[in-house]
Amino acid sequence: MWWVRALLWLALLIVLLALPLYLEAQWLRAGEYMMVGAVGAIGLTLLTGQAGQLSLAHAFFLLAGGTAYTVLAGGQEGERNLVGFNLPPLLALLGAVAITALLGIAFAPVAGRLRGIYLGVASLALVFLGLYFGQAAEGLTGGTSTGRAPEPFSLFGFEFSNEGDLEILGVPFRQSERVWYLFLGLLLIAFLLALGAVRSRVGRSWRAVRDNEAAAAVMGVSVARAKAGAFAVSSAYAGLAGVMTVLWFDILKPDESEFGTYGINVSIAFLAMVIIGGLGSVPGALVGAVVVNGLPQVLALYSTKLGWFTGTGEGAFTPVLISSFVYGAAIILVVLFEPGGLAAIGRRIAGRLSNPARGRE
C-alpha cells in the first residue's frame, strides 16, 4: 500500500503549495520559521539519531551559515570595514552550505574521539566560540551593535523580496509569499536527500558506526570517515538553515549573550525537535520542528487574535510564557508516553495501513 502513503505526501505538498493564497502574512512567517527549523532538525537527526553523535553545536553552524551567506552575497562596505564578495545569491547559498560542511569536517577529529554527553558538551564549546567570533569579527558579521543586512535571495533575476509587482489569483505576492516557496523548495530538497541517504548504504554505515564501531569497521566502513561525513552533512544542513534564518529575519545579528538566535537555547531546541519527532526519523524531524518552532509562534498569534492572556504587569501569563509551558510539557509527554517520538506513532499508523513494515531505521 505504498501508494496510499505516496498520495498522502502528495496531498500534503499540494496543500503547502496552495497555502500562500489563503494565509495572512503573519501565518506564512510562522510557517516559514517552521521550515527553517525543519531543515536544521533533519540535519541533526541524521547526526544524532542515525550516526549516534550527540551534538549541541547546531546553533554555531546556523550562525556560520548565515554569516557565510551574508558575506558571500553582500557588498564591500568601506566605511564599516565590512567584507563582501558580491556573489550571486544562489552561489552564496551554495558557498555557505559548503563552508559549514567544511567547518563540520574540521571539528570531526575532535568529535571522533568523544562519545555521548561528553561530545554534546564539547560541541557546546563551538556555540561559545561562535558567540565570541560573532562579536569579534565585526567585518564579517557587522557586530552585535548593528548587525548586517543580508542580500535578499534571488534566482535568475527573480527577487524574493517586496521588489516588483507580482500578483497571482488576485493575491499580491510579496516577500512573505515568495519566501514561502523558496523555503518550501529548499526543505523539499533537504528532505528528499536525507530520506534517500538514510535508506541507502550511507545511512547504513552511520547506523553501524552508532551501534558498534568495531563491527562496522570489519564490514568495510571507515569509522572516522563515516563520522566525519555525518558531521559534515549535518553541519551543511544547519548551515542552510542558517542562511534561511538570516533571510527570514532580514538581518544577520550576532547574539549579545549565549541565549539568543544562535545560542544554546537554539541548540537545545533542535535537540528537542529531533527527540519529539523520534530520534533518527527524517519525517519525525519535520513534526518536531512544527511543534518546537511553530508552537510559540502560533500560540502568540492566536492569543493576540482571540484576546487570550491579556494580562500585563508582573506575574502575568503571557503567550510567550504559556508557549514555554506547552513546549516543556510536550517534551515530557513524548518521552513519557512515546519514547520513540512522534515518528513511532506515525509508524504504527502506517503499519496498520500497510502490513510488513519497510526496513528502515
Binding site: L192, L193, A194, L195, G196, A197, S200, R201, V202, G203, R204, S205, R207, A208, R210, D211, N212, A214, A215, A216, A217, V218, M219, G220, V221, S222, V223, G229, V233, P356, A357, R358, G359, R360, E361
Partner: protein, 260 residues
C-alpha cells in the same frame, strides 16, 4: 575469488603485563576449514581481532596471500575478501535483519551522500540487486522469513545466524566465525555444521572457526590449532589434536569423550 592462504607469523599481543597472544604462528590453507580452539581466555578472539586489524599486534605479522594484514586498517578487510562473525553478534538491534545484512555489502557498493540522496538510477539499481543477494543469503541460513523483523526481537539462535549472514554478505574468500554454535541445541548445531560445510563446498572459500562445541569442530574441521594462555600448544588434524595429552589437560578435560 580464489581464496589465498592466511599466514599468522609469530604474533604477540600484549595488554599491559598480560600476553594475550604469545608468538603464535599457523596457516590456513586455501579452501580449508581450519578450527582454532582453546580454553576461555586463551586468545582466540584476540587472534581474530589481530587478523581484522582491530588489535595491533605487538610483534609479528599476518599475511593474506601477498597482503600484509597487520598493516591494513580494519575497514580494508572486507575489500580484501575477509568476512567475520562476532562472538557477541555485534548487530544493530533496532535495525531489521535485512538492513543488518546489507551492511555486509558496504564494501561492494559505491556512492556518497549526494548520489544516494538523489537516488540516482544506478544507485537504486545496484541497491536492489544487492538486496536480492542479501535476501538469498538469509534464505540460505534459514532466516528468510524474518527479513523485516528488528534483530532485537529475535531469539538468540536466529541472532547468531544474522551475524553469519552479514559476514557472508561480504562475499568473502576467507570467513572467520567466532563461536557460531554458541546457544544452539544439538539439532541446530548439526544443522549449522551442515550449513558451514555447504558454504565451503559451494563457494569454495576458506573458513577459520573458533568453537567450543567439540562435536562440531572435530566433525567438520580439516585442521585444528589449539591455543592456551596465548601460546599455540598443538596444531594438526582433529584426530591428532584430540589425542594430544597437553590439549586434553588444558582444554578438553578428562571425560570429554562423553561430554563433547
Amino acid at each position: 575469488m580464489t581464496p589465498a592462504e592466511l599466514r599468522v607469523e609469530n604474533v604477540t599481543l600484549r595488554f599491559g603485563g598480560l600476553r594475550a597472544l604469545d608468538s603464535v604462528s599457523f596457516d590456513v590453507q586455501p579452501g580449508s576449514l581450519h578450527a582454532l580452539i582453546g580454553p576461555n581466555g586463551a586468545g582466540k578472539s584476540s587472534c581474530f581481532n589481530v587478523i581484522c586489524g582491530l588489535y595491533r599486534a605487538s610483534e609479528g605479522r599476518v599475511f593474506f596471500g601477498d597482503v600484509e594484514l597487520t598493516r591494513q586498517r580494519p575497514n580494508r578487510l572486507a575489500r580484501l575478501g575477509i568476512g567475520r562473525s562476532f562472538q557477541n553478534a555485534a548487530l544493530s538491534s533496532h535495525s531489521t535483519v535485512l538492513d543488518n545484512v546489507m551492511l555486509g555489502r558496504f564494501a561492494l557498493t559505491r556512492g556518497g551522500f549526494l548520489e544516494c540522496g538523489l537516488r540516482l538510477p544506478w544507485i537504486t539499481r545496484t541497491e536492489r540487486r544487492h538486496a536480492e543477494r542479501a535476501a538469498e543469503i538469509c534464505e540460505f541460513l534459514g532466516i528468510g522469513d524474518v527479513l523485516h523483523t528488528p534483530v532485537g526481537a529475535l531469539p538468540y539462535g536466529a541472532v547468531k545466524r544474522v551475524d553469519i549472514a552479514r559476514a557472508l554478505a561480504v562475499e568473502p574468500a576467507l570467513l572467520l566465525l567466532d563461536e557460531p554454535a554458541a546457544g544452539m541445541n544439538a539439532a541446530e548445531t548439526a544443522e549449522l555444521a551442515h550449513t558451514i560445510h555447504e558454504i565451503r563446498a559451494e563457494l569454495g572459500i576458506s573458513i577459520l572457526l573458533v568453537e567450543h562445541d567439540m562435536g562440531l569442530v572435530m566433525g567438520i574441521a580439516d585442521r585444528v590449532s589449539v591455543l592456551d594462555f596465548g601460546r599455540l600448544i598443538a596444531d594438526g588434524t582433529p584426530a591428532e589434536v584430540q589425542a594430544d595429552p597437553e590439549v586434553v589437560r588444558a582444554y578438553l578435560g578428562t571425560d570429554h569423550k562423553e561430554n563433547a
